[in-house]
């Protein structure tokens, strides 16, 4: 890791938030380092979990039966339990490397050279308690006598990018996650818990048009907006022409532990190109 990037990365990891203004190259470097860091942490987390499980089976359980010579191995297992908990606290939302980084990568040649980008990214996973806004009342549903809904909400991403053609682009992504926890006890007395995740991602795009280069043609009214297709509006804001587009994408995940239902960069970039489709060269007014 470069020393300069390392300096930038330290406060970001401490606050679990990437917030500030950087040059485009620095943003790409930071995202690259965050990806490397996230992959390394995920690998260490996996290894420590494996060691925990193995030591639990091989040492901790036989220890209770009387095999005291396995005590050192059991201690190693306990140390790795703490390590696993520690690595889990370093975890970065997968969306940073699967959504934000590819998006910035795709826009790298469209960003004005040496311009500063305003970035605001939440790094913690969405189902972190920091974003918990509501815990519903327990209820019963079918075979599950105890169910509960948790609602998480946050503004995941805010980007302000000056583009090479003179336009100014603002991207916003907000997320709403509903986690349903269903618990039942089977006839053998075992408690089983299932999770369901439903995520609603709202994308908002704003393009401040450089009127010296582009004119805006109001898009034809669309009766029904398909998922992933932005509803485009043209307005005047502080004397400037602004094209805005917003759309929401809903996704569901059944498996436990997969709260990070990642946004697709192609959907957002596709929406952005549709905003651009409303522009025409200024000379052909």
């Amino acid at each position: 890791m470069k020393k300069a990037t390392h300096k930038l990365l330290d406060p970001i990891l401490r606050e679990h938030k990437m917030s500030g203004t950087w040059k485009a190259d620095d943003v790409r470097n930071i995202l690259q380092e965050l990806e490397t860091y996230d992959i390394a942490v995920a690998r260490k987390k996996k290894i420590s979990l494996a060691v925990c499980i193995i030591s639990f089976v091989v040492a901790i359980v036989p220890l209770f039966v009387g095999f005291f010579y396995l005590l050192p191995l059991a201690l190693v297992g306990i140390v790795f339990i703490f390590l696993f908990r520690r690595y889990r606290s370093f975890d970065i939302d997968d969306q940073v490397r699967l959504f934000v980084k590819p998006m910035v990568e795709s826009l790298q040649y469209d960003v004005k050279k040496d311009a500063y980008i305003s970035v605001d990214i939440e790094l913690l996973p969405l189902d972190n308690n920091k974003y918990l806004t509501n815990k519903g009342e327990p209820y019963a549903a079918g075979a599950y006598p105890k169910c509960c809904d948790y609602t998480y909400k946050r503004d995941f991403l805010k980007l302000k990018i000056p583009l090479v053609d003179g336009n100014k682009l603002a991207i916003g992504v907000d997320e709403l996650l509903t986690k349903t926890e269903k618990t039942k006890t089977n006839p053998r007395g075992k408690t089983k818990t299932k999770y369901k995740y439903a995520k609603k991602t709202g994308y908002s795009l704003e393009l401040k048009v450089n009127t010296e280069r582009f004119s805006v043609s109001r898009p034809a009214a669309v009766n029904k907006i398909a998922e992933g297709a932005p509803e485009i509006n043209v307005a005047k804001k502080d004397g400037a022409t602004v094209v805005t587009g917003s759309f929401t994408v809903k996704s569901k995940e059944k498996s436990a532990g997969k709260a990070e239902i990642c946004s697709d960069p192609v959907i957002l970039l596709g929406g952005l190109t549709q905003l651009y489709a409303a522009l025409k060269p200024a000379t052909t007014k």
Partner: protein
């Protein structure tokens, strides 16, 4: 060799501008090392490569690891899905006169101001 004619960008296309090192076997444009890929013993520009070669998994070494390749793959997907035509802010959209002269036999005559220009005389025309 001419400059790389691969167009970079998503919303606005620009010339790559780096020194070209090879020529795409499919579209014949000169491309630099970063924007060329070898496929079945022939060199293709990244755009032709993405169009011809099906998506490869992003695991292991190869184009899947490459940021330029991934960006080209995404751009291909987005342009295909949205039928978007970006604006081009480069030097020229098509090949210029200089590009055609590379293929002329007289190109080798360095310093000749009329090298590559085809001279047509009235005797060349025949009655049909």
């Amino acid at each position: 060799m001419a400059k790389c004619k691969y167009k970079v960008g998503l919303l606005n296309l620009q010339d790559c501008g780096k020194e070209g090192v090879t020529v795409c076997a499919s579209c014949n444009r000169p491309v630099c090392g970063a924007h060329s890929r070898i496929h079945e013993r022939s060199t293709l520009c990244l755009e032709c490569f993405v169009n011809k070669v099906p998506e490869q998994k992003d695991k292991g070494p190869g184009p899947g690891e490459d940021a330029e390749y991934r960006a080209a793959r995404r751009r291909n997907l987005i342009y295909g899905a949205t039928a978007f035509h970006p604006y081009y802010f480069g030097r020229s959209r098509s090949y210029g006169y200089d590009d055609y002269t590379y293929f002329d036999d007289t190109y080798a005559a360095a310093g000749d101001p009329v090298a590559g220009k085809e001279e047509i005389e009235p005797a060349d025309f025949q009655e049909s």
